[in-house]
Protein backbone atom coordinates (compact mmCIF):
# COMPACT_ATOMS: atom_id res chain seq x y z
CA UNK A 1 0.00 0.00 0.00
CA UNK A 2 1.23 3.52 -0.73
CA UNK A 3 0.58 6.84 0.96
CA UNK A 4 -0.16 5.13 4.26
CA UNK A 5 -0.06 8.46 6.10
CA UNK A 6 -3.12 9.56 4.11
CA UNK A 7 -5.32 6.89 5.63
CA UNK A 8 -7.93 7.65 8.25
CA UNK A 9 -8.22 5.73 11.50
CA UNK A 10 -10.99 3.42 10.31
CA UNK A 11 -9.28 2.47 7.03
CA UNK A 12 -5.93 1.93 8.73
CA UNK A 13 -7.51 -0.15 11.49
CA UNK A 14 -9.23 -2.36 8.95
CA UNK A 15 -6.01 -2.75 6.94
CA UNK A 16 -4.09 -3.65 10.11
CA UNK A 17 -6.64 -6.25 11.09
CA UNK A 18 -6.56 -7.80 7.63
CA UNK A 19 -2.78 -7.93 7.76
CA UNK A 20 -2.43 -5.71 4.68
CA UNK A 21 -0.16 -3.36 6.56
CA UNK A 22 1.78 -3.21 9.82
CA UNK A 23 1.78 -0.49 12.45
CA UNK A 24 5.51 -0.05 11.89
CA UNK A 25 4.85 0.69 8.21
CA UNK A 26 2.10 3.17 9.04
CA UNK A 27 4.29 4.82 11.65
CA UNK A 28 7.33 5.05 9.39
CA UNK A 29 5.18 6.61 6.65
CA UNK A 30 4.00 9.30 9.08
CA UNK A 31 7.47 9.89 10.53
CA UNK A 32 8.95 10.54 7.10
CA UNK A 33 6.10 12.95 6.25
CA UNK A 34 6.71 14.77 9.54
CA UNK A 35 10.42 15.07 8.75
CA UNK A 36 9.56 16.70 5.44
CA UNK A 37 6.98 19.09 6.89
CA UNK A 38 8.97 21.40 9.15
CA UNK A 39 7.61 24.34 7.12
CA UNK A 40 4.23 23.72 8.77
CA UNK A 41 5.76 23.82 12.27
CA UNK A 42 3.04 21.43 13.44
CA UNK A 43 5.12 18.84 15.34
CA UNK A 44 7.24 20.72 17.86
CA UNK A 45 8.61 17.73 19.79
CA UNK A 46 9.09 14.62 17.68
CA UNK A 47 9.18 11.23 19.38
CA UNK A 48 10.19 8.73 16.68
CA UNK A 49 11.78 6.26 19.15
CA UNK A 50 8.65 6.11 21.29
CA UNK A 51 6.54 5.82 18.14
CA UNK A 52 8.46 2.89 16.71
CA UNK A 53 8.60 1.10 20.04
CA UNK A 54 4.83 1.43 20.42
CA UNK A 55 4.28 0.43 16.79
CA UNK A 56 6.25 -2.78 17.29
CA UNK A 57 4.29 -3.52 20.46
CA UNK A 58 1.02 -2.84 18.59
CA UNK A 59 2.00 -5.20 15.79
CA UNK A 60 2.64 -7.88 18.40
CA UNK A 61 -0.77 -7.26 19.97
CA UNK A 62 -2.50 -7.40 16.61
CA UNK A 63 -0.63 -10.61 15.82
CA UNK A 64 -1.86 -12.08 19.09
CA UNK A 65 -5.43 -11.17 18.22
CA UNK A 66 -5.66 -8.46 20.91
CA UNK A 67 -6.34 -5.32 18.93
CA UNK A 68 -8.48 -2.60 20.50
CA UNK A 69 -9.85 0.14 18.25
CA UNK A 70 -6.82 2.44 18.22
CA UNK A 71 -4.21 -0.31 18.20
CA UNK A 72 -1.27 0.54 15.97
CA UNK A 73 -2.66 3.86 14.74
CA UNK A 74 -0.14 6.75 14.66
CA UNK A 75 -1.45 10.02 16.11
CA UNK A 76 -0.19 13.37 17.32
CA UNK A 77 -0.71 14.75 20.82
CA UNK A 78 -1.32 18.43 21.54
CA UNK A 79 1.44 19.94 23.66
CA UNK A 80 -1.13 20.69 26.40
CA UNK A 81 -1.24 17.01 27.40
CA UNK A 82 1.42 15.94 29.89
CA UNK A 83 3.32 13.00 28.46
CA UNK A 84 5.78 11.18 30.67
CA UNK A 85 9.38 12.04 29.96
CA UNK A 86 8.45 14.05 26.85
CA UNK A 87 8.44 17.87 26.81
CA UNK A 88 4.97 19.22 27.62
CA UNK A 89 5.14 22.97 27.51
CA UNK A 90 1.62 24.11 26.62
CA UNK A 91 3.33 26.24 23.99
CA UNK A 92 4.84 28.39 26.73
CA UNK A 93 8.33 29.52 27.62
CA UNK A 94 7.49 29.18 31.29
CA UNK A 95 7.38 25.38 30.94
CA UNK A 96 10.67 25.18 29.06
CA UNK A 97 12.54 22.07 30.13
CA UNK A 98 9.57 20.58 31.98
CA UNK A 99 9.52 16.78 31.67
CA UNK A 100 6.40 15.37 33.32
CA UNK A 101 6.85 12.41 35.65
CA UNK A 102 3.33 11.30 34.75
CA UNK A 103 1.02 10.80 31.77
CA UNK A 104 -2.35 12.51 31.25
CA UNK A 105 -5.34 10.18 31.57
CA UNK A 106 -6.44 10.78 27.98
CA UNK A 107 -3.02 10.12 26.43
CA UNK A 108 -2.61 7.11 28.75
CA UNK A 109 -5.96 5.69 27.64
CA UNK A 110 -4.97 6.18 24.00
CA UNK A 111 -1.64 4.45 24.66
CA UNK A 112 -3.42 1.60 26.46
CA UNK A 113 -5.66 1.22 23.43
CA UNK A 114 -2.49 0.76 21.37
CA UNK A 115 -2.27 4.20 19.74
CA UNK A 116 1.19 5.28 18.62
CA UNK A 117 2.36 8.75 19.68
CA UNK A 118 4.37 10.46 16.93
CA UNK A 119 5.13 13.61 18.90
CA UNK A 120 3.74 16.79 20.41
CA UNK A 121 1.80 19.36 18.44
CA UNK A 122 2.04 23.14 18.30
CA UNK A 123 -0.64 25.28 19.94
CA UNK A 124 -1.34 28.77 21.21
CA UNK A 125 0.34 29.43 24.56
CA UNK A 126 -1.77 27.84 27.30
CA UNK A 127 -4.46 27.36 24.62
CA UNK A 128 -5.14 31.11 24.63
CA UNK A 129 -5.57 32.12 21.03
CA UNK A 130 -7.44 31.46 17.82
CA UNK A 131 -4.60 31.46 15.30
CA UNK A 132 -1.65 29.61 16.84
CA UNK A 133 0.25 32.91 16.81
CA UNK A 134 0.87 33.08 20.57
CA UNK A 135 3.02 29.93 20.68
CA UNK A 136 6.59 30.02 22.00
CA UNK A 137 7.44 27.65 19.13
CA UNK A 138 6.32 30.19 16.52
CA UNK A 139 3.29 29.99 14.26
CA UNK A 140 1.89 26.72 13.03
CA UNK A 141 1.13 27.11 9.33
CA UNK A 142 -1.91 25.78 7.52
CA UNK A 143 -1.26 23.40 4.63
CA UNK A 144 -4.06 25.25 2.82
CA UNK A 145 -3.43 28.27 0.58
CA UNK A 146 -5.63 30.73 -1.26
CA UNK A 147 -5.23 29.28 -4.75
CA UNK A 148 -1.79 30.23 -6.07
CA UNK A 149 -1.31 32.95 -3.48
CA UNK A 150 1.55 31.89 -1.22
CA UNK A 151 0.42 33.94 1.81
CA UNK A 152 0.82 31.81 4.91
CA UNK A 153 -2.54 31.11 6.52
CA UNK A 154 -3.41 30.21 10.07
CA UNK A 155 -4.57 26.66 10.77
CA UNK A 156 -6.67 28.22 13.55
CA UNK A 157 -6.15 27.86 17.25
CA UNK A 158 -5.53 26.98 19.83
CA UNK A 159 -5.17 23.41 18.48
CA UNK A 160 -3.47 24.74 15.34
CA UNK A 161 -0.67 22.19 15.18
CA UNK A 162 -3.19 19.36 15.54
CA UNK A 163 -5.34 20.72 12.70
CA UNK A 164 -2.38 21.37 10.40
CA UNK A 165 -0.93 17.90 11.06
CA UNK A 166 -4.20 16.08 10.37
CA UNK A 167 -5.01 18.17 7.27
CA UNK A 168 -1.50 17.65 5.87
CA UNK A 169 -1.63 13.88 6.56
CA UNK A 170 1.35 13.96 8.92
CA UNK A 171 -0.62 11.68 11.23
CA UNK A 172 -3.89 9.78 11.08
CA UNK A 173 -5.54 11.87 13.80
CA UNK A 174 -4.64 14.08 16.74
CA UNK A 175 -5.84 15.11 20.16
CA UNK A 176 -7.05 18.64 20.75
CA UNK A 177 -8.56 20.61 23.59
CA UNK A 178 -11.38 23.11 23.41
CA UNK A 179 -12.08 25.89 25.93
CA UNK A 180 -13.91 28.35 23.66
CA UNK A 181 -13.63 26.74 20.22
CA UNK A 182 -10.04 25.50 20.10
CA UNK A 183 -10.92 22.17 18.47
CA UNK A 184 -13.82 23.22 16.26
CA UNK A 185 -12.43 26.46 14.80
CA UNK A 186 -9.11 24.93 13.63
CA UNK A 187 -10.98 21.91 12.27
CA UNK A 188 -13.25 24.21 10.26
CA UNK A 189 -10.22 26.18 8.99
CA UNK A 190 -8.46 23.05 7.74
CA UNK A 191 -11.22 20.87 6.31
CA UNK A 192 -11.03 18.35 9.16
CA UNK A 193 -13.46 17.05 11.76
CA UNK A 194 -13.19 18.31 15.34
CA UNK A 195 -15.35 17.17 18.24
CA UNK A 196 -15.65 18.82 21.64
CA UNK A 197 -17.39 16.30 23.89
CA UNK A 198 -19.77 17.12 26.72
CA UNK A 199 -17.89 18.70 29.64
CA UNK A 200 -16.88 15.80 31.86
CA UNK A 201 -16.80 13.14 29.13
CA UNK A 202 -12.99 13.08 28.96
CA UNK A 203 -10.78 13.39 32.01
CA UNK A 204 -8.88 16.64 32.39
CA UNK A 205 -6.26 15.01 34.61
CA UNK A 206 -2.75 15.72 33.33
CA UNK A 207 -3.91 18.30 30.80
CA UNK A 208 -2.39 21.70 31.55
CA UNK A 209 -5.34 23.70 32.90
CA UNK A 210 -6.53 26.92 31.26
CA UNK A 211 -10.14 27.45 32.39
CA UNK A 212 -11.16 24.39 34.34
CA UNK A 213 -14.94 24.77 34.01
CA UNK A 214 -14.67 25.03 30.21
CA UNK A 215 -11.67 22.88 29.15
CA UNK A 216 -12.45 19.62 27.41
CA UNK A 217 -10.30 17.28 25.32
CA UNK A 218 -11.51 15.79 22.06
CA UNK A 219 -10.47 14.13 18.79
CA UNK A 220 -9.38 15.90 15.59
CA UNK A 221 -9.71 13.55 12.66
CA UNK A 222 -10.18 13.10 8.92
CA UNK A 223 -13.75 11.84 9.18
CA UNK A 224 -16.73 11.62 11.52
CA UNK A 225 -16.24 7.87 11.81
CA UNK A 226 -12.67 8.44 12.97
CA UNK A 227 -13.91 10.93 15.57
CA UNK A 228 -16.31 8.29 16.89
CA UNK A 229 -13.55 5.70 17.12
CA UNK A 230 -11.08 8.01 18.83
CA UNK A 231 -13.59 9.49 21.28
CA UNK A 232 -14.35 5.97 22.46
CA UNK A 233 -10.71 5.54 23.46
CA UNK A 234 -10.37 9.00 25.06
CA UNK A 235 -13.59 9.08 27.09
CA UNK A 236 -14.51 7.59 30.44
CA UNK A 237 -14.67 8.22 34.15
CA UNK A 238 -11.46 9.05 35.97
CA UNK A 239 -11.40 9.19 39.77
CA UNK A 240 -8.56 11.71 39.51
CA UNK A 241 -10.82 14.32 37.86
CA UNK A 242 -13.78 15.03 40.12
CA UNK A 243 -15.67 16.63 37.21
CA UNK A 244 -15.35 13.58 34.98
CA UNK A 245 -18.66 11.82 34.80
CA UNK A 246 -19.25 8.21 35.73
CA UNK A 247 -21.29 7.21 32.70
CA UNK A 248 -20.85 4.25 30.41
CA UNK A 249 -19.02 5.05 27.17
CA UNK A 250 -21.12 3.76 24.29
CA UNK A 251 -19.71 2.25 21.11
CA UNK A 252 -19.97 5.54 19.22
CA UNK A 253 -18.99 4.01 15.89
CA UNK A 254 -21.83 1.48 16.09
CA UNK A 255 -24.28 4.38 16.34
CA UNK A 256 -23.30 5.74 12.91
CA UNK A 257 -26.23 4.62 10.80
CA UNK A 258 -26.60 7.83 8.81
CA UNK A 259 -30.33 7.58 9.44
CA UNK A 260 -31.58 10.90 10.78
CA UNK A 261 -35.20 10.61 9.64
CA UNK A 262 -37.51 12.41 12.03
CA UNK A 263 -34.71 14.23 13.86
CA UNK A 264 -35.42 17.87 14.63
CA UNK A 265 -32.58 20.23 13.76
CA UNK A 266 -32.75 23.73 15.23
CA UNK A 267 -31.52 26.81 13.35
CA UNK A 268 -30.87 29.60 15.90
CA UNK A 269 -31.76 33.00 14.49
CA UNK A 270 -29.25 34.77 16.77
CA UNK A 271 -26.36 33.15 14.91
CA UNK A 272 -27.15 35.22 11.83
CA UNK A 273 -24.56 37.92 12.49
CA UNK A 274 -24.24 41.32 10.90
CA UNK A 275 -21.43 41.37 8.40
CA UNK A 276 -21.27 37.59 8.09
CA UNK A 277 -19.85 36.67 4.66
CA UNK A 278 -22.55 35.59 2.22
CA UNK A 279 -20.70 32.36 1.58
CA UNK A 280 -21.06 31.34 5.23
CA UNK A 281 -24.75 32.22 5.20
CA UNK A 282 -25.22 30.19 1.99
CA UNK A 283 -23.27 27.24 3.38
CA UNK A 284 -25.41 27.24 6.51
CA UNK A 285 -28.55 27.21 4.39
CA UNK A 286 -27.19 24.39 2.21
CA UNK A 287 -26.30 22.39 5.31
CA UNK A 288 -29.86 22.69 6.58
CA UNK A 289 -31.15 21.58 3.15
CA UNK A 290 -28.85 18.56 3.21
CA UNK A 291 -30.15 17.46 6.60
CA UNK A 292 -33.70 18.07 5.43
CA UNK A 293 -33.13 15.90 2.35
CA UNK A 294 -31.84 13.19 4.67
CA UNK A 295 -35.20 13.22 6.42
CA UNK A 296 -34.66 15.64 9.28
CA UNK A 297 -37.11 18.36 10.20
CA UNK A 298 -35.66 21.87 10.24
CA UNK A 299 -37.06 24.21 12.88
CA UNK A 300 -36.29 27.82 13.72
CA UNK A 301 -35.22 28.33 17.30
CA UNK A 302 -34.11 31.21 19.47
CA UNK A 303 -31.11 31.32 21.80
CA UNK A 304 -31.69 34.85 23.09
CA UNK A 305 -28.57 35.30 25.21
CA UNK A 306 -26.12 34.33 22.45
CA UNK A 307 -24.64 37.82 22.12
CA UNK A 308 -23.58 37.81 25.75
CA UNK A 309 -21.64 34.57 25.46
CA UNK A 310 -18.32 36.07 24.38
CA UNK A 311 -18.33 38.83 27.03
CA UNK A 312 -19.23 36.23 29.70
CA UNK A 313 -16.47 33.97 28.41
CA UNK A 314 -13.92 36.79 28.59
CA UNK A 315 -14.70 37.19 32.28
CA UNK A 316 -14.92 33.52 33.28
CA UNK A 317 -12.01 32.13 31.25
CA UNK A 318 -9.45 34.78 32.32
CA UNK A 319 -10.66 34.53 35.93
CA UNK A 320 -10.09 30.78 35.98
CA UNK A 321 -6.83 31.19 34.06
CA UNK A 322 -5.46 33.72 36.56
CA UNK A 323 -6.12 31.21 39.30
CA UNK A 324 -4.79 28.18 37.40
CA UNK A 325 -1.67 29.93 36.16
CA UNK A 326 -0.73 31.11 39.65
CA UNK A 327 1.15 27.82 39.94
CA UNK A 328 3.85 29.04 37.51
CA UNK A 329 6.01 30.69 40.12
CA UNK A 330 9.52 29.61 39.17
CA UNK A 331 9.74 27.31 42.18
CA UNK A 332 8.49 23.87 41.25
CA UNK A 333 9.01 23.45 37.51
CA UNK A 334 9.92 25.22 34.33
CA UNK A 335 11.55 28.58 33.90
CA UNK A 336 12.97 30.78 36.66
CA UNK A 337 14.31 34.22 35.82
CA UNK A 338 17.90 35.07 36.60
CA UNK A 339 17.77 37.26 39.67
CA UNK A 340 19.74 40.37 40.49
CA UNK A 341 21.71 40.64 43.71
CA UNK A 342 19.32 41.35 46.56
CA UNK A 343 16.18 40.20 44.70
CA UNK A 344 13.70 38.52 47.02
CA UNK A 345 10.93 36.06 46.39
CA UNK A 346 8.48 38.66 45.03
CA UNK A 347 11.01 39.78 42.42
CA UNK A 348 11.54 36.11 41.55
CA UNK A 349 7.80 35.63 40.92
CA UNK A 350 7.38 38.85 38.99
CA UNK A 351 10.44 38.49 36.78
CA UNK A 352 9.82 34.79 36.14
CA UNK A 353 6.22 35.38 35.07
CA UNK A 354 7.12 38.42 32.95
CA UNK A 355 9.76 36.42 31.09
CA UNK A 356 7.88 33.15 30.96
CA UNK A 357 4.42 34.27 29.83
CA UNK A 358 3.78 35.79 26.41
CA UNK A 359 1.75 38.96 25.88
CA UNK A 360 -1.69 37.37 25.44
CA UNK A 361 -1.29 35.12 28.47
CA UNK A 362 -0.13 38.05 30.60
CA UNK A 363 -3.10 40.07 29.40
CA UNK A 364 -5.60 37.37 30.30
CA UNK A 365 -4.03 36.61 33.66
CA UNK A 366 -4.22 40.29 34.54
CA UNK A 367 -7.80 40.69 33.28
CA UNK A 368 -8.70 37.65 35.36
CA UNK A 369 -6.94 39.10 38.37
CA UNK A 370 -8.85 42.34 37.93
CA UNK A 371 -12.33 40.79 37.62
CA UNK A 372 -11.69 38.69 40.71
CA UNK A 373 -10.24 41.53 42.78
CA UNK A 374 -12.01 42.99 45.79
CA UNK A 375 -14.89 45.23 44.79
CA UNK A 376 -15.25 43.82 41.26
CA UNK A 377 -15.99 40.17 41.96
CA UNK A 378 -19.76 40.66 41.98
CA UNK A 379 -19.89 43.19 39.18
CA UNK A 380 -17.92 41.04 36.76
CA UNK A 381 -17.34 37.47 37.82
CA UNK A 382 -20.62 36.68 39.54
CA UNK A 383 -22.60 38.52 36.88
CA UNK A 384 -20.84 36.49 34.17
CA UNK A 385 -21.68 33.27 35.98
CA UNK A 386 -25.34 34.29 36.13
CA UNK A 387 -25.32 35.09 32.41
CA UNK A 388 -23.78 31.66 31.90
CA UNK A 389 -26.81 30.13 33.64
CA UNK A 390 -29.06 31.98 31.19
CA UNK A 391 -27.04 30.83 28.18
CA UNK A 392 -27.29 27.24 29.36
CA UNK A 393 -31.03 27.67 29.91
CA UNK A 394 -31.44 28.90 26.30
CA UNK A 395 -30.15 25.54 25.12
CA UNK A 396 -32.20 23.60 27.65
CA UNK A 397 -35.33 25.37 26.41
CA UNK A 398 -34.52 24.48 22.80
CA UNK A 399 -33.91 20.84 23.68
CA UNK A 400 -37.12 20.81 25.73
CA UNK A 401 -38.99 21.78 22.56
CA UNK A 402 -37.83 18.52 21.03
CA UNK A 403 -34.80 19.76 19.14
CA UNK A 404 -32.22 16.96 18.75
CA UNK A 405 -29.33 19.02 17.41
CA UNK A 406 -28.57 22.61 16.46
CA UNK A 407 -26.89 23.60 13.20
CA UNK A 408 -24.71 26.74 13.04
CA UNK A 409 -21.71 28.01 11.14
CA UNK A 410 -18.45 26.92 12.80
CA UNK A 411 -16.56 30.17 12.19
CA UNK A 412 -17.42 33.68 11.00
CA UNK A 413 -14.91 33.41 8.11
CA UNK A 414 -12.50 31.08 6.34
CA UNK A 415 -8.89 30.92 7.59
CA UNK A 416 -7.13 34.27 7.61
CA UNK A 417 -3.49 35.06 6.92
CA UNK A 418 -0.97 34.88 9.75
CA UNK A 419 -0.51 38.41 11.07
CA UNK A 420 -3.69 39.72 9.45
CA UNK A 421 -5.97 39.66 12.49
CA UNK A 422 -6.21 41.63 15.66
CA UNK A 423 -2.68 42.94 16.01
CA UNK A 424 -3.94 46.12 17.62
CA UNK A 425 -7.19 44.99 19.18
CA UNK A 426 -7.34 41.67 21.06
CA UNK A 427 -11.15 41.68 20.90
CA UNK A 428 -11.00 41.28 17.07
CA UNK A 429 -9.35 37.90 17.55
CA UNK A 430 -11.83 36.90 20.27
CA UNK A 431 -14.72 37.25 17.80
CA UNK A 432 -13.47 34.13 16.01
CA UNK A 433 -15.10 32.07 18.73
CA UNK A 434 -18.51 33.71 18.46
CA UNK A 435 -20.27 30.52 17.25
CA UNK A 436 -18.36 28.03 19.38
CA UNK A 437 -18.02 29.62 22.79
CA UNK A 438 -21.69 29.22 23.78
CA UNK A 439 -21.20 25.46 23.65
CA UNK A 440 -18.37 25.55 26.20
CA UNK A 441 -20.33 27.81 28.53
CA UNK A 442 -23.28 25.39 28.42
CA UNK A 443 -21.00 22.32 28.61
CA UNK A 444 -22.56 20.75 25.50
CA UNK A 445 -20.99 18.54 22.84
CA UNK A 446 -20.25 20.25 19.52
CA UNK A 447 -18.66 19.08 16.29
CA UNK A 448 -17.26 20.89 13.26
CA UNK A 449 -17.80 19.11 9.96
CA UNK A 450 -16.13 20.25 6.71
CA UNK A 451 -18.95 21.17 4.39
CA UNK A 452 -17.76 23.46 1.61
CA UNK A 453 -15.04 25.48 -0.13
CA UNK A 454 -15.07 29.27 -0.39
CA UNK A 455 -14.20 31.41 -3.43
CA UNK A 456 -10.53 31.43 -2.40
CA UNK A 457 -10.41 27.64 -2.37
CA UNK A 458 -10.42 27.40 1.43
CA UNK A 459 -12.48 24.95 3.49
CA UNK A 460 -15.52 26.02 5.47
CA UNK A 461 -17.22 24.04 8.20
CA UNK A 462 -20.55 23.84 9.93
CA UNK A 463 -21.08 23.11 13.58
CA UNK A 464 -23.62 20.74 15.08
CA UNK A 465 -24.45 21.06 18.77
CA UNK A 466 -25.98 18.13 20.63
CA UNK A 467 -27.72 17.31 23.88
CA UNK A 468 -25.46 16.64 26.86
CA UNK A 469 -24.00 13.10 26.86
CA UNK A 470 -25.57 12.38 23.45
CA UNK A 471 -22.32 12.41 21.47
CA UNK A 472 -23.46 9.23 19.74
CA UNK A 473 -26.57 10.88 18.33
CA UNK A 474 -24.60 14.03 17.51
CA UNK A 475 -21.95 12.03 15.65
CA UNK A 476 -24.67 10.26 13.68
CA UNK A 477 -26.17 13.59 12.58
CA UNK A 478 -22.67 14.80 11.70
CA UNK A 479 -22.14 11.59 9.74
CA UNK A 480 -25.30 12.27 7.70
CA UNK A 481 -24.12 15.84 7.05
CA UNK A 482 -20.66 14.60 6.06
CA UNK A 483 -22.12 12.09 3.61
CA UNK A 484 -24.42 14.67 2.06
CA UNK A 485 -21.69 17.32 1.80
CA UNK A 486 -19.20 14.89 0.26
CA UNK A 487 -16.23 17.09 1.17
CA UNK A 488 -13.10 15.52 -0.32
CA UNK A 489 -10.80 18.49 -1.01
CA UNK A 490 -7.23 18.31 0.24
CA UNK A 491 -4.56 21.01 0.31
CA UNK A 492 -2.05 20.86 -2.54
CA UNK A 493 1.37 19.95 -1.21
CA UNK A 494 3.77 22.94 -1.21
CA UNK A 495 5.77 22.24 1.95
Amino acid sequence: MSDLNKLGLAEARDALRKGDVTSVELTEACLSEIEAADALNAFVHKTPEIALERARAADARIGAGDAPAMCGLPIGIKDLFCTKGVPSQAGSRILEGFLPEYESTVSQQLADAGAVMLGKLNMDEFAMGSSNETSVYGNAVSPWRRGNDDTQLTPGGSSGGSAAAVAADLCLAATGTDTGGSIRQPAAFTGTVGLKPTYGRCSRWGIVAFASSLDQAGPMTKSVRDAAIMLGAMAGHDPRDSTSVDLAVPDFEALLTGDIRGKRIGIPKEYRMDGMPEEIEALWHEGAEMLKSAGAEIVDISLPHTRYALPAYYVIAPAEASSNLARYDGVRYGHRATLAHGDGITEMYEKTRAEGFGAEVQRRVMVGTYVLSAGFYDAYYNRARKVRTLIKKDFEDAFAQGVDAILTPATPSAAFGLGEMGQADPVQMYLNDVFTVTVNLAGLPGIAVPTGIDHQGLPLGLQLIGRPWEEGDLLNTAYALEQAAGFVAKPGKWW
Binding site: G97, L99, E101, T198, G200, S213, P239, S242, T243, V245, D246, H305, Y308, L310, P311, A312, Y314, V315, S322, A326, G330, V331, R332, Y333, G334, R336, G344, I345, T346, E347, M348, Y349, E350, R353, A354, Q362, R363, V365, M366, V367, T369, Y370, S373, Y380, N382, A384, R385, K386, V387, R388, T389, L390, K392, D425, P426, V427, A442, G443, P468, W469
Partner: protein, 95 residues
Protein backbone atom coordinates in the same frame (compact mmCIF):
# COMPACT_ATOMS: atom_id res chain seq x y z
CA UNK B 1 -15.23 52.13 34.23
CA UNK B 2 -11.91 53.26 32.94
CA UNK B 3 -8.58 51.87 34.00
CA UNK B 4 -5.73 54.27 34.51
CA UNK B 5 -2.03 53.52 34.70
CA UNK B 6 -1.95 53.21 38.46
CA UNK B 7 -4.77 50.63 38.38
CA UNK B 8 -2.91 48.73 35.65
CA UNK B 9 0.20 48.77 37.83
CA UNK B 10 -1.79 47.52 40.81
CA UNK B 11 -3.30 44.65 38.78
CA UNK B 12 0.14 43.68 37.46
CA UNK B 13 1.40 43.64 41.04
CA UNK B 14 -1.52 41.47 42.19
CA UNK B 15 -0.87 39.08 39.29
CA UNK B 16 2.85 39.00 40.16
CA UNK B 17 3.87 39.97 36.65
CA UNK B 18 6.54 42.64 36.27
CA UNK B 19 5.42 45.35 33.87
CA UNK B 20 7.88 48.12 33.13
CA UNK B 21 6.71 51.69 33.70
CA UNK B 22 6.78 52.59 30.00
CA UNK B 23 4.51 49.61 29.13
CA UNK B 24 1.72 50.70 31.49
CA UNK B 25 -0.14 53.12 29.18
CA UNK B 26 -0.50 50.48 26.45
CA UNK B 27 -1.55 47.88 29.01
CA UNK B 28 -4.17 50.19 30.48
CA UNK B 29 -5.46 50.78 26.94
CA UNK B 30 -5.81 47.05 26.30
CA UNK B 31 -7.59 46.55 29.61
CA UNK B 32 -10.04 49.28 28.68
CA UNK B 33 -10.76 47.67 25.31
CA UNK B 34 -11.42 44.30 26.92
CA UNK B 35 -13.42 45.71 29.82
CA UNK B 36 -15.45 47.80 27.38
CA UNK B 37 -16.32 44.55 25.63
CA UNK B 38 -17.22 42.85 28.91
CA UNK B 39 -19.31 45.86 29.99
CA UNK B 40 -22.18 44.58 27.77
CA UNK B 41 -23.00 42.09 30.50
CA UNK B 42 -24.50 44.98 32.43
CA UNK B 43 -27.45 44.96 29.99
CA UNK B 44 -28.60 41.50 31.05
CA UNK B 45 -31.32 41.15 33.65
CA UNK B 46 -29.85 38.67 36.11
CA UNK B 47 -32.29 39.35 38.93
CA UNK B 48 -32.97 36.10 40.77
CA UNK B 49 -30.63 34.05 38.57
CA UNK B 50 -28.28 31.67 40.35
CA UNK B 51 -24.63 31.72 39.22
CA UNK B 52 -23.78 28.59 37.25
CA UNK B 53 -21.49 26.34 39.26
CA UNK B 54 -21.52 23.15 37.26
CA UNK B 55 -22.46 21.88 33.86
CA UNK B 56 -24.36 18.80 34.95
CA UNK B 57 -26.08 18.70 38.30
CA UNK B 58 -24.30 15.91 40.06
CA UNK B 59 -23.08 15.13 43.51
CA UNK B 60 -19.32 15.11 43.63
CA UNK B 61 -17.89 11.67 44.09
CA UNK B 62 -16.58 10.88 47.53
CA UNK B 63 -13.63 8.72 48.33
CA UNK B 64 -12.13 7.31 51.48
CA UNK B 65 -10.03 9.84 53.35
CA UNK B 66 -6.83 7.87 52.98
CA UNK B 67 -3.42 8.45 51.45
CA UNK B 68 -3.49 7.29 47.82
CA UNK B 69 -0.19 8.63 46.63
CA UNK B 70 3.15 9.81 47.90
CA UNK B 71 6.73 8.84 48.71
CA UNK B 72 8.11 10.33 45.54
CA UNK B 73 10.17 13.26 46.68
CA UNK B 74 12.75 12.80 43.94
CA UNK B 75 10.11 12.86 41.21
CA UNK B 76 8.46 15.95 42.69
CA UNK B 77 11.77 17.78 42.81
CA UNK B 78 13.03 16.56 39.44
CA UNK B 79 11.68 19.57 37.55
CA UNK B 80 12.57 22.25 40.09
CA UNK B 81 14.80 25.08 38.84
CA UNK B 82 16.64 24.89 42.16
CA UNK B 83 16.30 21.93 44.54
CA UNK B 84 18.64 21.30 47.44
CA UNK B 85 18.75 18.63 50.12
CA UNK B 86 15.26 17.47 49.34
CA UNK B 87 13.71 20.95 49.29
CA UNK B 88 12.64 23.54 46.72
CA UNK B 89 15.12 26.40 47.08
CA UNK B 90 13.99 30.05 46.82
CA UNK B 91 15.55 33.43 47.65
CA UNK B 92 15.60 34.33 51.31
CA UNK B 93 12.07 35.05 52.55
CA UNK B 94 12.66 35.85 56.22
CA UNK B 95 15.19 38.43 57.35
Amino acid sequence: MSIDESTAARVAKLARIRVEEDALPALAGEFNTILGFIEQLGEVDVEGVEPMTGVTPMRLKRRKDVVTDGNQQDKILSNAPDAREGFFAVPKVVE
